[in-house]
Amino acid sequence: MKEEIIIAGFGGQGVLSMGKILAYAGLMDDLEVTWMPSYGPEQRGGTANVTVILSDSPISSPVLDSYDTAVLLNQQSIDKFESKVKPGGTLIYDPYGVHTPPTRTDISIVPVQAMEASFEMASAKTYNMLLLGALLKIRGLVPVESVMKGLKKTLPERHHHLLPQNEAAILRGMELARTE
């Protein structure tokens, strides 16, 4: 098993932390993982992206030119990464604010209304967990229990009271992916 994933969006949307929680979940599941961010000024509001690789064998390059799965959270990311999804791969995106949706026919394109769902949950901070839930539903990769263990590891203890809210968002995201 080897899954090469790109997650991209605006800085502040939780792109890097979503990748980190996924990588942690992989670690909990005894997989080899790499988490390779684009770092720098984009962390302060421009576009941010992170490459996460989960594999049951040692990982060579942390830098990739094509991906099995892309999770794209804004128009710029769709413009940049739609063409980089491998044929037969998966593109998950949030249609909110997207004027030119992805159009490829040789990949599976899954719109997930995560922004609207986060409004319903009255917490913008659950946004990335909604998308993570959708990703887990569509691609499997790791069980939700591993993700929760990963979340517990990444969140400082003073934020552990937020774990149930995050779990609810992941489960809601799984539902969203199912109803699409």
Partner: protein, 363 residues
């Protein structure tokens, strides 16, 4: 602290590994892409547990001279920076080499020259392997390609530095500094006691007991004949290091018709290029120097007798290629693929460049 499996950035792994090694002190000044080393040390507060000193100096120059002082006392001390900051430290590094002092210096390279970018580069290869500061000296240079090696080379770097009484450098780049991977942290060991330091480092400035002559660490020698003697001693040490400490890794070289030479995280990008090349029937292998100095000249020389061509892949305009050419001795063509200024190539770009240089590799 027991052995522990964690997910962390290469920079964070360096900080944790140093605490667990029993390092006595860190002196540094923040600069991207290595600031997490200082940040992690500050967050871990080892002064509360092991007694290790962590100090943000007022400048890079101050930090390297604090290392010089700590090392003269036989302490396991280290500093870290990124390219422009390492340039500032060069005077101090030359003094540490001349003083025959053990110390660990970490360079998480970014694109240069000048203040440059904050993105990954390998353009300090010349600086790291050919001396860097003034005078005839070398550093032992270790090039990590994984977060695990970032952790492992802290202990290895300190051990080699103390074994040969010479500064060692971890020459990393922004990729391996910033990316997170699984890492097994070694069990913690205690810092050495003053008695152990006095016993293991009889040269160290530790306060003179009545029973011995004073130890003096100085790099000034006005008598040229004496200075030449010092130089001869340094060179003897370097020959010993060259004999004993060459390290490298090979990947798919046993049946290789072509060879890629790359170090650090770029070697892993090349590994993926090789996976793709092999699936297209192109027999190419990789040699990854782990010690950039001493350089694995003999290993590359042996392999060059069996292949039709060599490509050197670096994040610079062509630096390690000079050492590769010395090893290959003109037997086969040696070409170069590099990106500069903080741009990182993907595996496909490397493979495309390889095929353009060696079109006959596709049978």
């Amino acid at each position: 602290m027991e052995e522990e499996v964690r997910l962390m950035k290469g920079n964070e792994a360096i900080a944790h590994a140093a605490i667990r090694y029993g390092a006595d002190g860190y002196f540094g000044y923040p600069i991207t892409p290595q600031s997490e080393i200082l940040e992690t040390l500050e967050a871990e507060m080892p002064w509360e547990t092991t007694g290790m000193v962590v100090l943000q100096a007022e400048s890079e120059v101050a930090a390297i001279n604090m290392v010089y002082g700590g090392a003269a006392c036989g302490k396991a001390v280290f500093t870290s920076s990124s390219s422009p900051g390492i340039s500032l430290k060069q005077e101090g590094i030359s003094y540490i080499a001349a003083g025959e002092l053990p110390a660990l210096i970490i360079n998480v390279m970014r694109g240069g020259p000048g203040l440059g970018t904050i993105h990954p580069s390998q353009s300090d290869y010349f600086q790291a392997t050919k001396g860097g500061g003034h005078g005839d000296y070398h550093l032992i240079v270790l090039a990590p390609s994984t977060v695990q090696e970032m952790a492992d080379f802290v202990g290895l770097g300190f051990d080699l530095a103390f074994k040969y009484r010479t500064p060692a450098m971890i020459l990393a780049d922004g990729i391996v500094g910033q990316m997170m991977e699984k890492v097994v942290l070694p069990p913690a060991r205690p810092r050495r006691t003053p008695e152990q330091i006095a016993e293991q480092c009889p040269w160290a400035v530790t306060g003179r007991p009545a029973t011995r002559r004073p130890n003096v660490i100085t790099t000034l020698e006005l008598d040229s004949a004496m200075m030449e003697k010092h130089n001869e001693r340094y060179q003897q040490t370097y020959r010993l290091i060259e004999q004993n400490e060459v390290r490298y890794d090979e990947y798919m070289t046993s049946d290789a018709e072509y060879l890629i030479v790359a170090f650090g995280s770029i070697a892993r990008i090349c590994q993926k290029s090789i996976e793709d090349a092999r699936s297209r029937g192109i027999k190419v292998g990789l040699i990854r120097p782990i010690t950039l100095w001493p350089f694995p000249t003999e290993a590359i020389r042996q392999l060059s007798r069996r292949v039709k061509g060599v490509m050197v892949v670096e994040l610079n305009a062509g630096q390690m290629i000079e050492d590769v050419r010395i090893a290959v001795e003109g037997r086969v063509p040696v070409c170069h693929f590099g990106r500069m200024g903080g741009i990182v190539p993907n595996p496909q770009e490397v493979l495309d460049s390889f095929i353009a240089d060696f079109p006959d590799s596709r049978h």
